[in-house]
Symmetry: C2
Subunit: 300 residues, 2 copies
Amino acid sequence: MDGTNTFREKYDEYVNIVNNALDDCVATDDKPGSEIFNAMKYSLAAGGKRLRPVLALAVCDMLGGSRNDVLPFACAIEMIHTYSLIHDDLPAMDNDDYRRGMPSNHRVFGEAMAILAGDALLNRAYEVMISHIMKKEGDLRSFVRAMDVIAAGSGAEGMIRGQTLDISYEGRELSGETLEYMHRCKTGALIRAAVLAGACIGGASEQGYEALAEYAENIGLAFQIKDDIMDVEGSLDRMGKTSGKDAVSGKNTYVSVHGLEKAVQLLDGSVSTAVEALGCFGEKAGFLRDLAFFIKERDN
Amino acid sequence: MDGTNTFREKYDEYVNIVNNALDDCVATDDKPGSEIFNAMKYSLAAGGKRLRPVLALAVCDMLGGSRNDVLPFACAIEMIHTYSLIHDDLPAMDNDDYRRGMPSNHRVFGEAMAILAGDALLNRAYEVMISHIMKKEGDLRSFVRAMDVIAAGSGAEGMIRGQTLDISYEGRELSGETLEYMHRCKTGALIRAAVLAGACIGGASEQGYEALAEYAENIGLAFQIKDDIMDVEGSLDRMGKTSGKDAVSGKNTYVSVHGLEKAVQLLDGSVSTAVEALGCFGEKAGFLRDLAFFIKERDN
């Protein structure tokens, strides 16, 4: 990749690679019942920042790993992220009619199909990873390890734990500690899995792996804090004031628990810590460093 | 295992092994949000016949494979089966208040938690398989292959395809051909995956693998036809008559499409074909042979 590329160009290049690969992950067929693929593709194609797969690709690139080998794992993570959004939007969960400016999955395909499309995307994530491993010769361990990291980050001790907490604590006050645990699970676990899957496929040293874990946890936190800040700034714009709890959703956020000023400090702190963690990689970590600042500066 | 054991004793022994292992698959912790494990355990412990994990264990046993190695895969299949029942019972799907004589998952834990518990069981199935593989030394290929078979049977070209068809065709007439395709996906794919996962871990020869695939497809069909016959006999008992379409659920069944007499013939035929397929295993296949007859004779 050309060293003179700006961060944004490089990011967009990764996104293009991911989008093309995702298209191939959910190929339809002409047998009865293939409409399930339409529902899966609808949400998968709806875009978003592709932050998680970009992270996996960028980490593997930095370590000199194979693009072809990391791509199925990057796509799997995005499929897992997408399924969680489909299920989160369901009437029984957050009851959101829109996602990324488009009608949510169940508004288009009905609730039953949306439940199945989410299930199918989660399962397909594993199908895609396993199929890739089945094609490899020689030692499969680093691939199985990448899958292990992704599975742990997605489950009842990772992302789903965070969703459980989100539901359990809705409308109740949350301590700063529990809030951080919730977000470490809900958003952080999958971001961490993306970085560490890239590290496994890229063949990171033990020291490099630990450094990347530190980086991942801190950009995960930064991502969530920034989200909360944007939410409250959005509602300030709309209403000219905000309450102690998030005024729009009634959910616990970094701003509702710590106040806006402290939340901005926490954001700055986690971005600094993330960038410091990359020290051992020197100049090769330029893109990941820029990405940490991008998470802080982004406006959507 | 003692050769003089009756079929039923051997079956129950397998069930005990599976139940104990399933308990360990969903161990709770004391961190916030651990209530997700209660919802997962509730449905997992609700029992049922454990047909799929018993099949995986029995096939691996017959081939002289390791009980310890097949068990995580057997449990994974039961977790996948269980998650599909939780999601099937949801109001947006079949809207069933009871499952196996107990209140369905969402009636106890609420819809949001039931959706998450299903997701978490599906993900945990992969976590359990992958964790086991990570512990193994040497060549991992046969384990990855077992997982590949399970993933394919569970997804949008397997079980979930069948659920999609079930929803799409509800209230519409179905050809015999499409009905068979639906059931090959909905029930057959996971039964097949159980048998073939046992075959992979047990180290089946290519010929043995093909024979077991033939066995699996035919007991899968037999299982579904018998279910449909029991349904219609149940409703005959209650109402003294039945209509062309299944009188209770409005769903397409073997009896509604072919009539009761033809359905019984199809059941007999598939059990015979299943038993014939086991010929190459000789006396070692006694349990699997008995199991095919058990599927035909069972009354629940």
